[in-house]
């Protein structure tokens, strides 16, 4: 739809070009004094059209560069409402700039929407700031060349600004969104059909080790699920990993302490723990109060958990899920009691503290990966796989793109841009 109107306009512009030449000739002939004084030629091949891919109220003017364009010569863009232009010289000057400026190559068009080669002059008129451009109203636009006192004006060209229904410049964005969406769906459906390989997360070995040590020492294990509620992926991951930890503590007969700051998360975790003890064949060891609610206030909760750490001296502390400023208060106290500490969080601001104060840390996405690895749920595993493919694609683009960009400089060629433009954010 959009393309069509564009083409129509281009044709209009082209037929107009012939007229410009003709009129320019006539102008020169009729105005013999000007002709005698200067060789200043009017702007050639003027094309005016509705700026594509925008919300309206804008027109774009294009014209060919002249061989003698320089800073001493200036271009003026002239505008008037309506189709009839009795006197082009009386049109309103809406812009004026040196003739060696405003090229298509300076604008941000990607190659698939670029209306002319890079060496053409380009100016975009916009509604506002002294220019009024109404949608669905026809305007006459032309360009004048000025050198000192001399001014030659090309024949005005008509165009109508209008709002567009699609921003073609952002098609790469849409394409990538669809492509990535497709990849995720494909990966999830594959995961439903067959097992997808996930590498073993080293942190999970550390979990087993820590529980073993707690058993040896006869001390309890402390497990925290983070600050968010059950609707957050980090809390879900923490709950899944709790299932695994509970299974181990059940098998070894180690005490498990899970203080909570959200009642719903607590209820869910109770179910998970119970299930784990059942699966481990030790339902008699399960205690309902191993999951308990403290408070939802950040610092009261922290103070209470710190107290538990100091009094009960757990042999292992697990910090899974999302944490805020309380992270350091918790892990620092935990470290002071000599416990093995294992953390897993997607809170990137707190990661440095977990990494320094804990013996093992699942960094960012590793938390989700660990949970997918344990749960084997197709949607989780498939999403992880889909993201891996997405990352692989991006890695490929980075590699190929850098090589092409370097080649482009080395061999002074333009074609690598065809590839690079696809991965640019252009609007």
């Amino acid at each position: 739809m959009k393309r069509k109107t564009l083409n129509v306009k281009c044709e209009n512009a082209r037929s107009a070009c012939g007229a410009i030449l003709l009129i320019a000739g006539i102008l020169c002939l009729s105005d013999s004094p000007v002709f005698a004084q200067t060789t200043l030629s009017p702007p050639q091949d003027i094309r005016v059209f509705d700026t594509p891919s925008d919300g309206g109220g804008s027109l774009t003017v294009l014209w060919s560069p002249a061989p003698d364009d320089s800073a001493s010569i200036r271009y003026q863009v002239l505008l008037s409402e309506g189709t009839a232009v009795p006197d082009p010289a009386a049109m309103k000057v809406v812009a004026e700039f040196p003739a060696n400026q405003r090229y298509v190559r300076e604008s941000k068009w990607p190659w698939w929407t670029r209306p002319a080669t890079g060496d053409h002059h380009q100016f975009t008129l916009r509604n506002g700031r002294g220019v009024e451009l109404k949608n669905e109203t026809t305007y006459s636009v032309t360009v004048a060349r000025v050198s000192g006192e001399d001014r030659v004006i090309a024949t005005p060209v008509q165009a109508t600004p209008q709002p567009n229904w699609l921003n073609w410049n952002q098609m790469n964005n849409l394409l990538l969104a669809l492509l990535f969406g497709g990849i995720v769906f494909y990966a999830i459906s594959t995961a439903r059909k067959r097992e997808i390989f996930l590498r073993r997360i080293p942190g999970l070995d550390a979990v087993d080790e820590a529980i073993g040590r707690a058993t040896e020492l006869g001390k309890p294990i402390l497990y925290l699920t983070g600050a968010h509620d059950m609707s957050d992926p980090s809390t879900i991951a923490a709950a899944v990993i709790l299932g695994r930890v509970a299974k181990r503590t059940a098998a070894y007969g180690t005490d498990l302490l899970v203080p909570h700051r959200d009642p719903i998360t607590m209820a869910v975790c109770q179910e998970i723990t119970k299930q784990a003890y059942l699966e481990a064949g030790k339902p008699d060891l399960y205690k309902d109060d191993s999951n308990f609610f403290i408070t939802s206030d950040q610092f009261s909760y922290t103070a209470a958990v710190d107290g538990i750490m100091l009094r009960k001296k757990p042999a292992a502390n697990f910090f899974m899920g999302h944490y805020f400023a309380e992270a350091l208060l918790l892990t620092e106290t935990g470290a002071s009691t000599g416990a093995i500490q294992i953390a897993g969080t997607d809170a990137d601001h707190q990661l440095p503290f977990f990494v320094t104060t804990c013996d093992y840390t699942l960094i960012g996405e590793e938390l989700y990966a660990a949970s997918a690895y344990l749960s084997r749920e197709p949607v989780q595993v498939g999403t992880l796989r889909g993201q891996d493919i997405g990352k692989a694609l991006i890695l490929g683009v980075l590699g190929v793109g850098t090589i092409l960009a370097t080649l482009g400089v080395l061999l002074d060629m333009q074609w690598p841009q065809l590839f690079l433009d696809i991965f640019k954010d252009v609007k």
Partner: protein, 290 residues
Amino acid sequence: MFHVARGLNMTFAERMLKIDRRIIFLVIGLCTLLPLLYPVGLPIKISPEVRGVYDHIESLPEGSVFLLSLDFDPASKPELHPQSISLLRHAFRKNLRVIAMTLWVSGTGMADQVITQVAREMGKESGKDYVFLGWSPGGTAVIINMGQDLYGAFPADYNGKPTKGLPVLHGVANLRDVNYAVSLGAGNPGVEAWYVFGKDKYKFELGGGCTGVMAPGLYPLLRSGQINGLIGGLRGAAEYEILIGQKGKAVAGMDAQSATHLAIIVLVIMCNLFYFSSRNRARQQGQLGA
């Protein structure tokens, strides 16, 4: 993890490693307090990140529209309050039209205070030279809504005056008409949100200021030009105070920063010395035992 030596066998290094943390608390408290009472005034170098913001404001012609979003709460006051004071002083000195606002509800009172205070000091008038829009809920939705229609997002300013028709907002319909925006962010919504939901579509130039916690995470945006400058933490604030030639609380705090940072570095080095000496001892004992 190394609990080989216990009780009587504890060496000096091990005992030092297990020192009561309240002693460290005391050291840090003193390192902060003393330089505040007896400042030294060490010179502060200007970094290119901070200069980016300063230079851009310097380049703006008089009457340009400058939007300052104070997206922080009292918890980040020591870092971002001095930044906002310096930025406002600079903007007012350049006679820019200032639009101030906040996306953090608990920062509203502080934001109002700082802008009223600086405006009074610079002899600026509310409604004519500046406007404080206050707070509105919705976070990122507020940014998009301002980008579409500023008067829809904030029908009235903080004092309840209708925003439509205020002289300071003349010719400003939405974020597209803003020349420069700076978000002083302590978290989310903050600088990132202003890029993703603001500049990405509405094309104003954007600068950032943030707490030290946020700063390292904003460097990719700085590198890619998504923000044209970054004032990071108290150090950034101190640099800005020096750039505009009005030293304030940030510069005053830098001596204390120097002292505490050095104290922590010394602590880290000591920790590792003790750690290695006790580990070596443990190893030797292990070898003797075997």
